[in-house]
């Protein structure tokens, strides 16, 4: 992506990639995680995903209709927002929760700012932040993995926060997603398959995800529980929503910096804020807030990392 995204003067070469093509490619890259979520949490996960996506599409069409704009539901961006919002929800939530979340994400997170390309914050994460501030009890009761009846279980990070001990889960279990958590974040394997597809298609670059995950791992390793350099960085990388956030939400074109230098700053900021919230904050998990905060800083980052115009001093 970064090679295609250098902002420069003409002449430009036209490429057939369009916004909607990239959006649908990201949707495709998220399908393995949907399959994994249904395997791990059962049909309620599928129900939540479908409701969230449908609500996002309906909201987008409705708002574009009443504001007399061109209805652009088929460009995939509303579909993607609904899908990502669902991935940020526990599998078993009341049916209206994804509806309210998707409505907020599209209406307040995106259309209020003028629609696709104008929004400051990642709409799906804005929806999640709204839901978690409004109905924390539904947003933090997670379904236990591979249990047919709805047993709730805490996420590994919640256990860590409450007991100060790394919970007894193997790295392989975490990697495959045998843990409580939001429905799209648990299966790291499926997420990495999707991310690899996006890398292969050059729709995302390494700058944000690698710096995000890397600095977070380094930070939790340095400030470990038994003094410096004792932290379990593998556990911290495999649990929580950091893989989902770093590859699929921090890389959102609209809300992340344009230049490579800016993207590295953005990724570092996300990683440090995530680690700080996880280690010393009130919440067990900080990925979504970290990304939202750095979304807010993106205009400033863009301003100070602007590429130099030829012949002018910066």
């Amino acid at each position: 992506m970064s090679n295609n995204l250098i902002v420069s003067s003409s002449c430009h070469i036209h490429k057939e990639d369009s916004v909607s093509k990239i959006m649908w490619a990201v949707v495709i890259s998220l399908i393995p995680s949907a399959v994994a979520a249904v395997i791990i949490f059962g049909l309620p996960a599928l129900k939540t995903i479908l409701i969230a996506v449908a609500a996002a599409l309906v909201t987008e069409a409705f708002i574009q209709k009443i504001t007399k704009k061109k209805i652009s539901v088929s460009d995939g961006s509303a579909f993607l927002t609904g899908l990502l919002l669902a991935y940020n929800l526990p599998a078993q939530v009341p049916f209206w929760l994804p509806i309210v979340g998707s409505f907020f994400a599209i209406a307040i997170g995106k259309q209020v700012f003028g629609g696709l390309g104008q929004n400051i914050f990642n709409p799906a994460l804005a929806g999640r932040a709204f839901l978690i501030a409004s109905w924390p009890k539904y947003m933090t009761s997670f379904t236990a993995p591979l249990s047919c009846d709805a047993i709730t279980s805490a996420t590994p990070l919640t256990l860590l926060k409450e007991t100060k001990i790394i919970p007894d889960i193997t790295y392989l279990g975490l990697f495959l997603g045998k843990r409580g958590g939001c429905l799209g974040e648990v299966c790291i394997l499926a997420l990495l398959i999707g991310a690899a597809f996006l890398f292969f298609k050059k729709y995302i670059s390494w700058h944000i995800p690698v710096t995000f995950i890397g600095i977070n791992g380094l930070f939790v390793y340095i400030f470990g529980p038994n003094g410096f350099f004792t932290g379990d960085w593998v556990f911290h990388t495999l649990s929580g929503g950091i893989i989902l956030g770093a590859f699929f939400m921090a890389t959102d074109y609209v809300t992340s910096p344009l230049t490579r230098k800016g993207q590295i700053i953005f990724g570092l900021g996300c990683g440090v804020i995530t680690a700080v919230i996880r280690l010393w904050g009130g919440y067990p998990e900080g990925v979504s807030y970290a990304i939202l905060m750095m979304n807010g800083a993106t205009p400033i980052i863009d301003r100070y990392t602007k590429s130099r115009v030829y012949g002018k001093f910066a």
Partner: protein, 197 residues
């Protein structure tokens, strides 16, 4: 008389202190968690506004130009003190709920703004009607905001349940909910204004 009515009504719609002038947002954001608090704040500010506007219109001839703001503040602070002592005596619960925002009416931009922009130039009767209108506009705005926030955030109105229950969205009881509601209402009123123009 019609002229006076116009002075009164402009504060409610055309120059609504909250939605059009965007003044006094700090107490509006802070106390609009419930209707009782909103009305209490609105009435207290209206009382101070009436008192300060009338007194300042009366003494505007003898206030030296260069120290007028300190003079206004002294007048306003007097009325705020009266309000606070009355509230402490007759409604201690409301006083506790509003907390620091009652003394802070001293620096409320609406009160100081009307003193500077209106009462220092106009006669007593007109200043009184201006204060009544601005106070009513502020109180109505607070009613609207706190009504929405109490309904969505706690599922009640004036502390009473509404006969049906739903899961209230606690975000509306938090500061972020206040910013959301005020932002959306400001946008809505701006839209109405533009459509009329």
């Amino acid at each position: 008389m019609g002229n006076l009515l116009k002075e009164f009504s402009k504060g409610i719609i055309k120059e609504n202190p909250t939605f059009i002038l965007a003044l006094g947002l700090c107490p509006t954001l802070a106390v609009s968690t419930s209707l009782i608090n909103g009305v209490g704040m609105g009435v207290a500010a209206t009382f101070v506004l009436i008192g300060s506007n009338v007194i300042i219109a009366l003494i505007k001839g003898i206030i030296p130009e260069r120290i007028r703001i300190p003079c206004y503040i002294v007048v306003i602070a007097t009325f705020v003190t009266i309000t606070e002592l009355l509230m402490k005596a007759y409604s201690p619960a409301l006083n506790r709920a509003l907390g620091i925002y009652v003394p802070l009416i001293v620096v409320n931009c609406i009160v100081l703004g009307r003193a500077e922009a209106y009462a220092s130039k106009e006669n007593v009767i007109r200043s009184l009607f201006d204060a009544l209108g601005m106070g009513a506009g502020f109180t109505l705005a607070l009613l609207l905001i706190s009504g929405i926030r109490e309904f969505l955030g706690s599922g009640t109105l004036f502390g009473h349940s509404l006969g049906f229950t739903f899961d209230p969205a606690s975000v509306f009881s938090m500061p972020s909910g206040a910013l959301l509601v005020i932002g959306l209402l400001l946008g809505f009123f701006n839209y109405l204004k533009q459509r009329k123009a």
